[in-house]
């Protein structure tokens, strides 16, 4: 009975760790976007991506919120290509992610579990290697994030 309890506890713990570390949401604004038909075309491209679970379109802001399927790797290049395939151009991409901080000689990155490591820019030196954090920021290149907010969990 004790062994079973320990096993269940460990399972729950590791499941929690896995679900904790992830890119939770991406908000992408699209330029040249002009009408609801155009938005629908872009939305259709996002929905066709195998790692996207849900898309929410903000027609007035010309932006899309993307959520992701657990266990799938997010590929930023494919998100960019989806906008091109929809016939428009990528504006800003904002990321909301949780994960474990890695400090390599003052260069911070974030291990998320569902994307390649995110290189973080503008992180205060008060954070330590191994800290679990939640970050918000904008992508400056494929996997580099200019951090606007970072919090320890």
């Amino acid at each position: 009975m004790k062994t079973k309890l320990i096993l269940i506890t460990l399972l729950v713990f590791f499941t929690y760790i896995k679900s904790f570390a992830q890119v939770k949401e991406i908000n992408i604004s699209v330029d040249g976007f002009t009408c609801s038909l155009c938005a629908k075309g872009v939305e259709g491209q996002f929905k066709a991506l195998d790692f996207v679970s849900k898309v929410r379109t903000n027609l007035e802001a010309a932006s899309f919120d993307l959520w992701f399927k657990p266990g799938n790797q997010i590929k930023i290049e494919k998100i960019r290509s989806a906008v091109d395939d929809g016939g428009f151009s990528v504006g800003a991409i904002n990321v909301d992610a949780e994960g474990t901080l890695v400090n390599s000689a003052g260069n911070y990155s974030l291990k998320t579990g569902n994307s390649p490591d995110l290189r973080l820019i503008n992180v205060e030196s008060s954070f330590n290697d191994g800290d679990r954090v939640t970050i918000k920021g904008s992508l400056t290149s494929s996997y580099s994030v200019s951090v606007s907010s970072i919090k320890k969990i």
Binding site: S29, G32, L37, K40, L59, D84, D85, S89
Partner: protein, 280 residues
């Protein structure tokens, strides 16, 4: 002339009073556009020329497909209501967007387009009298193959869109009759009236358009001999409305007023209606 002045004035007023926070649309009905369709998007369309007195091939069934986000395939089968000659030309066309300057709710885009018109019922005309004043696109299209291509520039600024296109049409006779090649150019404007503010895909859109097309036709020929009283200039002015339902169904109606050289003898006005369905 009075009519044109009034139309230009209305378009100018619409531009001046357009609020800046609303989207624009450039889904021009009778012009090539610089924007392309989304990849894998399919569109079917039915365009009906509503003037029963005119026998021509301007009614068509169309099929568009987004090959990539920049490359669109556009195809049409023309038809008429004349007994025994229901099937007109087949138009195989493409549009490639080669320049984009996209910003928030703004774009400036350029595309190149090309079309091949294949006649389905070629005739071997020998009587020149019927064809002296005729223009390609108005009657008896099936006499010639046509190749035409050109460029289009679209500028979108919030709720107002401007379209400028220029093209050249080259005809290849199937028989001895050859329509004059022609140059075509157009300036068109589009304006989004509704919705004032987007909430969902279910919002009904109302767009209005003013499209203009100018043509310069070379003279027609039979056996290489130029036919007198053929060729000349034509101007078409189109006023159109477009309703969009569920961001998938487009219902369009319009009125086309033509002004042509006396030589061409084709001052015909046309009412048309069109319906399009987008598969996603």
């Amino acid at each position: 002339m009075k009519h044109i002045k009034k139309t230009v004035l209305i378009a100018a007023l619409m531009f001046i009073f357009s609020p800046l926070e609303i989207f624009s649309q450039e889904l021009f009905i009778n012009s090539e556009v610089a924007s392309s369709e989304a990849k894998n998007r399919k569109i079917i369309s039915l365009f009906i020329n509503g003037n029963k007195d005119i026998f021509n091939y301007t009614s068509y069934l169309g099929f568009m497909y987004g090959v990539t986000g920049k490359f669109t395939s556009m195809n049409k089968i023309y038809f008429s209501n004349k007994a025994g000659e229901q099937l007109g030309d087949i138009d195989i066309g493409t549009n490639y967007r080669f320049f984009s300057n996209d910003k928030k709710k703004f774009h400036l885009r350029m595309s190149a387009f090309g079309h091949l018109m294949i006649p389905m019922k070629p005739k071997n005309t020998t009587d020149s009298s019927d064809f002296a004043g005729k223009l390609l696109g108005d009657q008896y299209r099936q006499e010639n193959f046509s190749l035409y291509g050109g460029y289009v520039l679209t500028i979108l600024n919030n709720k107002f869109a401007t379209n400028i296109d220029v093209s050249y049409n080259y005809n290849i006779p199937k028989g001895i009759f050859r329509y004059g090649n022609y140059v075509k150019g157009g300036v068109s404007f589009g304006y989004l009236v509704l919705p004032r503010k987007y909430i969902s895909y279910k919002d009904v859109n109302l767009n209005v358009y003013l499209e203009t097309k100018g043509y310069y036709y070379n003279a027609n020929q039979i056996n290489g001999n130029v036919l007198q009283n053929s060729g000349g200039k034509k101007l078409e002015i189109m006023l159109e409305t477009q309703l969009i339902f569920f961001s998938s169904i487009l219902f369009e109606t319009g009125y086309v007023k033509s002004f042509a050289d006396k030589n061409l003898n084709i001052q015909k006005d046309i009412f048309f209606t069109s319906i399009k369905y987008l598969f996603f």
